[in-house]
Symmetry: C2
Subunit: 281 residues, 2 copies
Amino acid sequence: MPGYHRVVIVGVGLLGGSVGLALRQRGLATTIVGVGRNAASLQQAVTRGAITDFSESLNVACRGADLVVVGTPVQSIAEFVKNCLASELAADCLVTDVGSTKSGICRQLAGSEFSQFCGSHPMAGGEKTGVAHASADLFLGKRTIITPTAQTSTQAVQRTDQLWRSLGSDVVRMTPDEHDRTVASVSHLPHIVASALASTTDSSLIPFAASGWGDTTRVASGDVEMWRQIISENREPILSALRIYSQGLSQWLSAIESGDQTAIVSLLESGKSARDSSVVS
Amino acid sequence: MPGYHRVVIVGVGLLGGSVGLALRQRGLATTIVGVGRNAASLQQAVTRGAITDFSESLNVACRGADLVVVGTPVQSIAEFVKNCLASELAADCLVTDVGSTKSGICRQLAGSEFSQFCGSHPMAGGEKTGVAHASADLFLGKRTIITPTAQTSTQAVQRTDQLWRSLGSDVVRMTPDEHDRTVASVSHLPHIVASALASTTDSSLIPFAASGWGDTTRVASGDVEMWRQIISENREPILSALRIYSQGLSQWLSAIESGDQTAIVSLLESGKSARDSSVVS
């Protein structure tokens, strides 16, 4: 089990806050310093026990840290990592993140000066955001994809792997591009599908929605700015997944228009068998 | 509270079985006779307490009944209602159903000889089918749409209303066409959306799916033949809803292709506000 002397969490939201809670509950860290701009939200994180202290200054927070976790929206992650490394950060401090996209971030952090950084994406969370929903067990039994690159030091890769395992997560390594293609299909596309379904439902009919509509649209409740950044960062893989999905929907339209029962059964069976093959509840 | 001397449930699946359990738990019926072709499944329904007895003969079952609930797949409901009324059914016996479509059924049952019939659709259930998942509280706090027509006797309408209220459901009246347009949007389209998403996800990526994909595809696990019949029965309203949804998806594709952040934010906000307006959990 790794133990940390001083942990810095930049952006103490659902994921960052859950890292803090999980580390403390497991006795892996005593000092956890939150960094952010919103003092009220950081105070709430202290009250919840996700951090022990907070600072508005990244420089002050990073002094003496041996782990920095960046939990900000994806489009500011690379900048925060750069700022950490430009601070008086110890040479053996691991820097990682919890962002939902990886290629753009890793591209911005290409170069030997970023060998302490290893990207992470714990596939946990959901449509609820903020430290209020953070949980010490959020990562338990969930998968974390880590995305080391050629420049990432062996030690940083190993320590990132250990970090997530120590919080109960399974760890899988992928390249940043593999990661982004994967999550475009299994996370980003579902958000768009759900959002389009919710927004095209006639508002007068929503009172009649039951659990089917509720499940299928649930993720559409997610934070708008967070999702804008994800979609912007992962544009090409999302477009590719969305085009494949649209073709699937066209097949549905043709099958129903022509009343082709065999085609309808085949589409239903294909959807059912894919869903049933998943271990997700 | 209505009470029943002898209830007949034709097709003791999730909904039919739940009607039986709910009636018994509330002390509203002592004798509940299941009718079906599968003796093993009917025996299971007896063991679960959903029915007290069963028969392969609709004629035998209907003798002396004061309530018949048809819970078969939608394309056989009208036929079973006709067969009930052709049996030695008492003139004051209420006949209703729990089917997910209404126009086709009501069209087949047009005529004064069907004044004892009033269509019902309890909006409860989900992707799990069969009496094994039946529950006495399935209808509690859920909505049931009832679809009386010009021919339905006032008594049949009132008794259908009372039946569902006595099982804890809210009751709303609609015409069969209004019902079918409503459920095309809030139930049938979500099934197609979920099924298309599940089937177009590359199978090698499904192991990386988490709760977002899981929620958005959940209903795709539903019974194939049940859904084939629903889609076939409710063709036009589903096509109309599917076309509107496809247009919404095209807007997404354009917005991402052109990188139009304002359009992306507007789409995300529209989806979020629709989802957040719903009372579904």
